[in-house]
Each structure stands twice: as structure tokens, then as C-alpha cells.
Subunit: 210 residues, 2 copies
């Protein structure tokens, strides 16, 4: 395992993993820091520095072995583990997550969805059963859950998070467009779609002003 | 209009907008940098510095007027404009974007979706018509489009981006899990869902190791 890894390096790890997976699929077995840097829009020295940081991989001058480096970065990302996932909210965002093909390939197994709507409870999304929100506590008592996806309206998200914490869940992937309060021993990663679209809008507005 | 705004401040702008909108909805009219900082997990001096950067708003000691500041930040984000949007891909991600309620409220109007699947073309998602991908060029000749959402499989995304550029589209919101090459005068903002989930996985793995 690597030593101290900075936040900036951590944020770049999924990009490395994605590019190495694409290279592997294209049949590339070996890549230099120059070529990888060009693909990722990083300098070769930045690439070498990052990869040293992961644990001193490859031999400078010969380049990196694509499959080996991909696997190593996958392990650092925890993708060699299985994660049991539940999704709160069976609306369009929750259903899109349930149907996203790469998640199951990367070891994220969705075992149940929860909703309050009578027309959704009892149905299935991508063969995953939609259970009533009222059954959440019982489900968490009977099943170990590594990650809960919050795909609920903002107004219901904090209450849902509190219930998940009470039930022993310690990691949340939050799609609700709000910032949630959570205990220190709970990990929350947000996907704020509106924020991303607003950044695009900002860039359009300021390009036009230039 | 504000002067030079750093990337870090730009990335915080949607967060300000979101918190101010929540405060406004809760009936709060005035807020101090202390209180706003507490909500946003920033120091009061960071808040004052950011807001000065937007154009010297509010009076220190009296706090900021919530509605006025929200509107001002909305203008900086370009949310006072209307944006015509098309979505390429009418699968679960494309449909989730088409149904996302806040986007239309914030001036993003989806006027058409495009897909190759015979069972999707001719249908509607949230009253938005799904047109055949082959009709993209004709549509772009007849209609002004500010933003194209890419909700296609990674393998088709680069070709779609090239066609959009040829058709005059200069801003892309990309959900395809790949990094795209684009001309300098085209803005591309990525939502890499896998990256976000992998960051969560990393944090779980390294919490357990601690």
C-alpha cells in the first residue's frame, strides 16, 4: 500500500483507472509517462510523481505495464472488494443508478431499493426489488449494507441519512441537491447535478462576455 | 460584474446559490458571514473574501441580504438567461436529466432528445420528443441549441461531440464515462459518475485501514 496520498492525487485516481481500462481494452500492454500524460492532459513528470506516490511502480524509460498498473490502482480504489448497495428513492435518478452497467462490473451490488410511492413499492428496477421505506430499519437489521445511495428529494434526505446512520450504514452517495449534516464516522460523497450544470452555465456566460 | 474570479471561487458559487435558495425558502432575509460560514463549512473570512470577489456585496456587521445576494450570484452563474438544451441518448441517464425538475426552473429548457433505438424514437420523455439521431444535423440547422447533454455509451460519445461541433453547438454536459477531445472554443463539463463512486470506495477502503 502507498504512503500518504494527497487529496489532489486521490481525485485523479479514477481518471487513471478509466484511461488504463480504455488502453487495456484497446490492446495496449505498455505505456510511457509521455503517452499517458498526453492522454490525461498531465505532464510526464506529474504522471511519474503520481505513480511513485501509489507505490513506486514501473520502470522509467520502459514505461508502465498497463494491466498491472490498472489492477494496482483498482486495489487502491477498493474496487477489488464487493460492496453491498441500497438505493433510497426509485424515481428517475435512483433507477438510472440501478441500471448503470459499470457499477455491478466494479463490485457494487445493489441489493434493494426503497420508496414511499405505492405504485413503485413491490415493483422491480433492473431485477432489484423496490421495498417500502417503512421497512428500512428491519432491512438494515437483517442485511449488511456498505453504501446507501440517496436519490430522494432534498426535503427528505436528512431524515433518511439519520435513519441510515442509526441502522449502521457508514457511507452515503448523495444525489439529493442539498448538503447534509452527518457524523464524523460517516462518509458522504455528493453528486450535485445542478452544481455541475451551473458551472457549465457560468462558463457559457463568461465566454460570451470575453 | 466582478473582476477576476479564481477557479476555486467558481466551484463554490453553486454552493452559495444552493444555500441562499434554501435560506430564502425558509424565510431568512438576512445572514451574517458567521452563520453562512457555519452552514457552508467555510470560515467567516473566507465567506467575506468570496463575496467581495463577486462585487463587494452587503455591509460587514449587518450581514448580507439573502435574496439580493442569491439573485446576484444567480446572475454571475448565468441563471438569468434561458438555455436551449438537447439530450443525446434517451436511456436512463438521459431520461433522468429530462425529468430533473430544477433544471427547467433555472432556465434550462430541453427542446429535444435524440436516440438510435427504434422503440424510443417517436416517444416522449416528460413531454420532450425523442427524435432519430440521423436527424441531428437537420435539427441543428433549424434550431439554436446552447447546451447538448451527452448521455450515450462511451463508444459513441466522441463521434456525437464532433457532429454537435459541426452543427454549431459550443457547450456539452457529458455523462459518458470517457474523456472527450474537443476544440478550444467548445466548453465541456463532465459528470463522471463512476469517478465519484470510486472516490467513495477509496474513502471506505482507507477508513477501514486506519
Amino acid at each position: 500500500m502507498a504512503g500518504y496520498v494527497s487529496d489532489a492525487v486521490i481525485r485523479r485516481l479514477p481518471g487513471y483507472y478509466r484511461h488504463l481500462r480504455e488502453l487495456e481494452a484497446a490492446g495496449v500492454t505498455q505505456i510511457s509517462s509521455q503517452e499517458l500524460g498526453k492522454r490525461m492532459q498531465l505532464t510526464p513528470s506529474q504522471i511519474r510523481q503520481d505513480i511513485n506516490c501509489f507505490g513506486g511502480f514501473g520502470r522509467q524509460g520502459y514505461g508502465y505495464k498497463v494491466s498491472e498498473l490498472k489492477e494496482h490502482i483498482g486495489e487502491i480504489l477498493g474496487l477489488d472488494r464487493q460492496h453491498k448497495v441500497i438505493i433510497l428513492g426509485a424515481g428517475s435518478i435512483g433507477s438510472a443508478v440501478a441500471r448503470y452497467p459499470t457499477f455491478s462490473r466494479e463490485g457494487f451490488e445493489t441489493i434493494a431499493m426503497f420508496d414511499v410511492a405505492a405504485d413503485k413499492v413491490g415493483s422491480q428496477v433492473n431485477e432489484i426489488p423496490v421495498l417500502p421505506m417503512g421497512g428500512l430499519e428491519g432491512f438494515l437489521t437483517a442485511n449488511h449494507v456498505d453504501i446507501a445511495v440517496l436519490a430522494l428529494p432534498a426535503a427528505y434526505a436528512q431524515d433518511a441519512l439519520n435513519r441510515l446512520y442509526q441502522g449502521g450504514v457508514r457511507a452515503v452517495w448523495n444525489f439529493a441537491p442539498t448538503d447534509l449534516n452527518h457524523p464524523e464516522d460517516m462518509i458522504v460523497v455528493n453528486v450535485h447535478l445542478s452544481d455541475s450544470l451551473q458551472i457549465l452555465s457560468y462558463k457559457i456566460a463568461h465566454r460570451d462576455n470575453d
